[in-house]
Symmetry: C2
Subunit: 324 residues, 2 copies
C-alpha cells in the first residue's frame, strides 16, 4: 500500500491534511490518491448542516461535537466555505473554527473553499469526506452555507441533512425553505429565544404537514435551540438535536433508506467526476491555444453567438456515438 494511504488509514492528521489541501488546489496526484483511498471508505455516517449566513451553524456544529464526543465517537468536520472563492477560505479558516476541540485528537476539523469556476467544490467536498472516512472517523459533519444549487449538490454527499433556520431573517429566507424542504431531514430553529420563533415553528409545521415527504415514514422534526450564551438550556437543546440525528440514522438503517442515500451520493460523485473529466481538458486546450480569447472577441463584436461556438468546439472534441 502507498505510504500516504497507509498513514491516512491509520489516522495520521498531517497526511490527511496535506491530501485535503491538494484536493482543494486540484493537484493532479491527489486524484490518484483518492482512487486508492476509495476501498477504505463508506463506513462513516455523514451529517450535513446547512443554513443561511449568520444562522449559527458553526456554534451548533461545535455543540454537536461536544455531545458526540461524550459517546466516544471520532469526528471529522468539513467546513465548506463557498463565500470566498477568491481568498480560498483563508479568513474563515480552521484556526478560528471550533477552537474548543483543537486539542482533542478525536476531532479533525478542516475547511474547504472553492477555487476556479468549473464547479469543482462539490467534488472536492466528496473527496475530502473520503479522506476523513479513510481516517476511520465515525461521524463526519459537513457544514455549508445553504443557498443555491451548489449547496444542494454539496449536501447530496450527506446521509442526514440538518437545516438551520433563524427567526426574523426576512422574506428570502422564508422562500428558501421551499427548496430546503426537499432536502431537510431535521430542522433546527436556532436563536429560538428571538421574537418570531414560535411563528416560524408554526409556519414550518404547516409546510411539513402539506409536504409529501412525511409519507415515507420520517417526518422531519423541528428542534428549537435557544441562546448559545445560556449554557443550561443550550446544552439541553443541542443534546436533543444530537438525539434526533441518531434517531434519523437508525431510521435510515432500518428502513433501507441508507442504501438509497448512498446511491444518491454515488450518483452525485459520478456527475461531479464526469463534469470535471469532460470539461477540464477542453478548457485547458482552448485556453492554451488562445482560441477561447479569440472566440470571446468574435462574440463581443457580434460576429458569432456562444451556442454556435460551443457546437463547433463540441464537434471537434466529440466522437460520433454509435447508435445502440
Amino acid at each position: 500500500m502507498d505510504s500516504t494511504i497507509k498513514k491516512i488509514c491509520s489516522g495520521d492528521v498531517r497526511s490527511a491534511s496535506r491530501l485535503i489541501r491538494d484536493i482543494e488546489d486540484k493537484i493532479p496526484e491527489a486524484k490518484a490518491k483518492i482512487k486508492k483511498l476509495y476501498a477504505h471508505t463508506g463506513k462513516s455516517f455523514i451529517i450535513g448542516i446547512t443554513g443561511a449566513p449568520g444562522a449559527g451553524k458553526s456554534t451548533l456544529t461545535d455543540a454537536l461535537i461536544t455531545e458526540l464526543r461524550k459517546q466516544n465517537k471520532t469526528i471529522g468536520v468539513l467546513a465548506v466555505d463557498p463565500t470566498s472563492p477568491f481568498t480560498g477560505g483563508a479568513i474563515l479558516g480552521d484556526r478560528i473554527r471550533m477552537q474548543r476541540h483543537a486539542e482533542d485528537p478525536g476531532v479533525f476539523v478542516r475547511s474547504l473553499a472553492t477555487r476556479g469556476a468549473l464547479g469543482g467544490l462539490s467534488q472536492a467536498v466528496g473527496d475530502a469526506i473520503h479522506v476523513m472516512e479513510a481516517m476511520g472517523k465515525d461521524i463526519i459533519i459537513v457544514e455549508t452555507v445553504g443557498i443555491g444549487q451548489q449547496e444542494i449538490d454539496i449536501i447530496n454527499h450527506a446521509h442526514s441533512v440538518v437545516v438551520v433556520l433563524v427567526p426574523g431573517m426576512g422574506d428570502e429566507i422564508q422562500t428558501m425553505k421551499a427548496g430546503l424542504m426537499e432536502i431537510a431531514d431535521i430542522f433546527v430553529i436556532n436563536k429560538a429565544n428571538r421574537a418570531g420563533a414560535k411563528q416560524l415553528q408554526t409556519e414550518l409545521t404547516s409546510m411539513l404537514n402539506l409536504s409529501s415527504k412525511t409519507a415515507d415514514g420520517w417526518k422531519p422534526p423541528i428542534v428549537m435551540v435557544g441562546d448559545a450564551f445560556k449554557p443550561d438550556t443550550f446544552v439541553k437543546d443541542t443534546a436533543k438535536l444530537t438525539q434526533k440525528i441518531e434517531e434519523h440514522h437508525v431510521y435510515l438503517q432500518q428502513s433501507g433508506k441508507l442504501t438509497e442515500r448512498m446511491h444518491r451520493k454515488a450518483m452525485a460523485e459520478i456527475k461531479d467526476a464526469l463534469s470535471s473529466c469532460l470539461l477540464e481538458p477542453v478548457f485547458e486546450s482552448l485556453t492554451a491555444s488562445g482560441e477561447l480569447e479569440h472566440f470571446a472577441e468574435k462574440i463581443k463584436s457580434g460576429k458569432a453567438d456562444p451556442y454556435s461556438v460551443a457546437e463547433e468546439i463540441t464537434q471537434r472534441f466529440f466522437k460520433k456515438q454509435d447508435k445502440k
Copy 2:
C-alpha cells in the same frame, strides 16, 4: 425574420416572456431563437445587484426603477432566484415583486430559477438578458442572492456590480466581503439606520484602501441607504445610488473598461454554452442507457471509484486530439 424574433425586437412582452420561460425550462427550440436574437443584442447597460438574503435587494431595485423611470429609461429586471431549485421560483415570483411598476409598460420584470443540476442558471441568466436587450431595454437590472461561485458566475453577465451589505449580519457576511470585494463596483450599506452601520462603513473603507482595485482608476464608492420606511431620506439615498451607477457607466465608457467587461461577459457565455453543450449529451446518453445507474451501483458497493468511471466514459466520448 422569424416572427417571434420580430415581435421580441418590437418589445412584445408576451413573446419575450414565453421565450424566457422556454429558456428556463430548457426547451431546445429556445436555443435556436437565442441564436437568432444575438444580432439584436449588446446595446443595454447591465447592472448586477447582489447581497445576502434579507439585505433588501428587491426594495433597492424597486427604488432604482423609480429613479431611472424619471429619466424615461426603459428597464428590464431579472430577479434570479437560486434559492428554490425545486419549486422553480414559483413562490417568489414576478407577482409579488415590484408590484408598484406592474402597470408601467416601460418596466419588464421576470424572475428566473434554476432547474436541474448542470449549472445552467448562469447560462439562462445570460440568455434572458439577451431577450431583454433585444426588446430594446436601456437598462437591465439583474438581482441575485450573492453567495458562492454560482452567483459570481451570474454577476459576470453584468457591466456594473452593486453589492448590498447590511450591518449586524454576523461573521459569515463579513468574510463574504472578501469574495465580493473583487466583483463590487459600488457598495451599498443598506438599513444604514441600524446599529453597526458606521463600523461596517469604516471596515469596508479600510478594506478598500488595502485593495489593489482602487489602482485602476475607479474606487468603489460606499452608498449609505437608510430605512425604506422613511421615504424622505430613502428617496434621497437611492437617488445617490442611481447617480453613482451612472458615474460608473460613464467611467467604463471613457476608460475603455466597458470593452473589457464585455469581453469578460463573452468569456462567461462561451464557458456556460460549452459546459452544457459538452455535458448534456453525455448525461442524456448514459441516463437513457441505464449506465449511470449501473455505475452508481458499482461505486456504492465499492467495486469502482468515480474517477475511473469518469475516465472510462470520457475516453468513449472524446476524440483523440491532434497535438499542434
